[in-house]
Subunit: 338 residues, 2 copies
C-alpha cells in the first residue's frame, strides 16, 4: 500500500509537470521556452521563373527550400518551361489567384510582368524579385548579383594571375545591361587599381560559343602578348577556352568566365579556364524567402520584431547583393549541380 501511494505521488507530480510544460510551451513569449522564428505548414511561398528546367535555378530553389525548412513553411516551384514572356506572366497570374503567402519572381523581361505584380500587391501578396529585376514594378525588393562589382572581382583576379603589367581583353554582350555593367566594373577597376594592365579590346561574342571563339582567336592574333580575357557569359567562356587550346596559349592567356554550367566547370577543372565567377544563387533563394516571410507576417500578424515598423515605409531592404565567388581548380568540384 505504501508503494502504491508513492507511485500515486509520482504520477500526480508528473501530471502537474505536464500541465506546466504544456502551458508554458503553448504561451507565446513564455520565458522558459524559445519558439524562434517560424510560420505555419500551410503558409505557402511560391518561386516563379522561366526556363524552369535549367540547372542555373537549382541552387536558388535549394536556398528557397532551405529557408522554408528552417522557418517551418511550405514552398512551391512554378514558371514557364519555355523562354516565353506570356507564359511566365500567365503562370504568375495563376499563382496570384491562389493567394499564397508570398512570391519570389525572376523576370524574363524587366517590364512584362509589371501588371501581374501590381495585381499581387493589390491582393496584399508580397512579391520580391530575384536574379532578374522588374525595377518599375510593385515588387518590394530585388535580390541579385551586383554586376559592376562582379566585373571588379574579375579584374582583381586577372591581375592576381597575370601580374600587374600586360594586355587584357573582354568578350561580352554589348547590348545587355548586365553585361555592360560587368564590363564597366572590370574596366574601371583596372584603371583605378592596376594601371599597368591595359584593356586592349572589347569584342562582341553574341552570347555564342563559336562567335566568341572566333573573337578570341582574332584578339590573340592581333595581340600576341595578350595575358588574359574576361568573358562575361558562360557560352563565350567555353569558346574562348577552345581558342586558347587551338592557339596553344594555355598558361599564357588566362580566361576568366562567368557562371557555372557544366561546360565551364569542366574547363575550369582541366585548367583551360583559369576561373569562373559563380553568382550567389542559393542566397537569392534563401533571402528571398526570408524577406517574403517578414513581409507576410508584418501584414498579417504584426510580429513583435516588425510591429514598430509596420506603419513605416521600410517593409524590406530595397536591394540585396547576393555576392560573387571565384571558382578555380581548387574548389570547382563543389559547384557541379547535384
Amino acid at each position: 500500500m505504501k508503494k502504491l501511494l508513492l507511485l500515486y505521488l509520482v504520477l500526480i507530480v508528473t501530471f502537474m509537470a505536464y500541465l506546466y510544460t504544456a502551458y508554458f510551451r503553448e504561451s507565446d513569449g513564455g520565458m522558459n521556452t524559445v519558439t524562434g522564428l517560424h510560420g505555419e505548414r500551410d503558409e505557402k511561398y511560391v518561386m516563379v521563373n522561366f526556363l524552369t528546367g535549367i540547372d542555373y535555378w537549382k541552387n536558388a530553389l535549394k536556398g528557397f527550400e532551405d529557408a522554408a525548412e528552417a522557418l517551418g513553411v511550405s514552398v512551391e516551384y512554378r514558371g514557364s518551361t519555355r523562354y516565353d514572356v506570356h507564359e511566365e506572366a500567365m503562370v504568375l497570374e495563376q499563382v496570384i489567384a491562389r493567394k499564397p503567402a508570398g512570391i519570389a519572381v525572376s523576370a524574363i523581361n524587366s517590364e512584362a510582368l509589371n501588371a501581374a505584380i501590381a495585381k499581387a500587391a493589390e491582393a496584399g501578396i508580397p512579391v520580391v524579385m530575384f536574379d532578374s529585376d522588374a525595377p518599375n514594378s510593385k515588387a518590394l525588393s530585388f535580390l541579385g548579383t551586383d554586376n559592376y562589382s562582379a566585373g571588379a572581382t574579375a579584374a582583381r583576379h586577372i591581375a592576381e594571375l597575370a601580374g600587374s603589367e600586360g594586355k587584357v581583353g573582354i568578350i561580352t554582350h554589348p547590348n545587355q545591361l548586365n553585361h555592360q555593367e560587368r564590363t564597366k566594373g572590370f574596366d574601371e577597376t583596372l584603371r583605378a587599381e592596376f594601371p599597368g594592365l591595359e584593356l586592349v579590346s572589347i569584342a562582341d561574342g553574341k552570347g555564342d560559343q563559336l562567335e566568341s571563339e572566333k573573337q578570341a582567336l582574332a584578339m590573340m592574333r592581333l595581340h600576341p602578348d595578350l595575358a588574359g580575357i574576361f568573358v562575361t557569359e558562360a557560352n563565350g567562356g567555353v569558346g574562348a577556352g577552345n581558342a586558347v587550346l587551338k592557339e596553344s596559349k594555355l598558361g599564357q592567356v588566362r580566361i576568366i568566365s562567368f557562371d557555372t554550367n557544366k561546360g565551364t566547370l569542366d574547363m575550369v577543372k582541366s585548367g583551360t579556364i583559369a576561373a569562373t565567377l559563380a553568382q550567389g544563387t542559393w542566397n537569392m533563394g534563401y533571402w528571398s524567402l526570408m524577406q517574403l516571410f517578414h513581409a507576410h507576417h508584418e501584414r498579417s500578424d504584426g510580429m513583435p520584431e516588425s510591429r514598430d515598423l509596420g506603419s513605416v515605409a521600410f517593409p524590406l531592404p530595397a536591394y540585396v547583393d547576393t555576392g560573387i565567388s571565384v571558382v578555380t581548380r581548387a574548389n570547382v568540384d563543389r559547384y557541379y549541380a547535384k
Copy 2:
C-alpha cells in the same frame, strides 16, 4: 477502489502523454513540431559604434534587439561615447576578447578598425558593417543606405512638388563620399528623367546650420525663381528652412532634407521643410543580426539551411541596401525618436 483504479489509469495515460510530448518536442526535426529558427539565450551578439548616445542609433539598436528577441538570443550595445577613432577601436578589441557570437560595427572611419576586424576574423567571430562601411576590412558584408539611390529619390520627390520645369539647387558636404553620391544620384536622375528641371547651383554648407542658411539665402537671391533645394544632411536642412522663412518663400522654394533629428522633423511638421529622407536604420540593425546569426551557426552548427553552403564562399549577401523612406507632414509623427 474502482474510482481509485480509474484515477490511476488517467494518471498513467497522462504520464505517457507527457513522455510522448517531451520526446517529440525535444527531437530536432520531429514531424509534429515546428521549432523555427532560433539560437540560445547565452548566444550574445554585440553592436559596436561611436557617439553611442545619439538618437540616430536608437532605431538601429531597436532592430538589432527585435531580431534577437525573434531568434531567442542576447544582445549588447557598446562603443565610444565620443567621436573618437581610438576609443572605438579599443572598445571593439575588448568586445572581441570576450568572444561573442557576432559583432555588427558602424565604423567611425573607413580604415581605422581594419586591424581589430581582422582579429575578430582570426578568432572566428563574424563581423558585419552597418551604416558606415570599412570596405577594405575582413567584415563579411555591409548593410546601409545606397546614397546614390537616396539622391535619385530626392530628385523624384522634388519633381513631384515643383513640377517638371524650373530651377533647383543642392547644399551639401562636397568632400564626403556619402554626400557626393547623394548629389550625383540627384543630378543624374534630374538629367535622365526631368530634363526641364535645371540644377543651377551646388553649394558647400559645411554640415553647419548657419553656413547652410547663408548659402541658401545667396542661392535664392541669385535665382529668385528657385523652386527647390535638396540638402544632403540634417543641420543644413534646418539652415535652409530658416533661410526660406526669412525670405518669405514658403511654398515657392521646397526643401528636401536628410535624416530625422528633432529639428528637421519639427520643420517637416510645420511645413517649412517639404520632406526629409529617413534611412532604414531599423533594417540595418535587424538584418545585421539576422546575417550574424546565420554566419555564427554556419560556422558552429552546420545548420540544415546552410550545410550545403558551408564550404562554398557565400557566407552572406555582400551588401544590403536598407532603403530610404520619404517623410512628409502626413507621416512625420511616426519618426520622432521614442
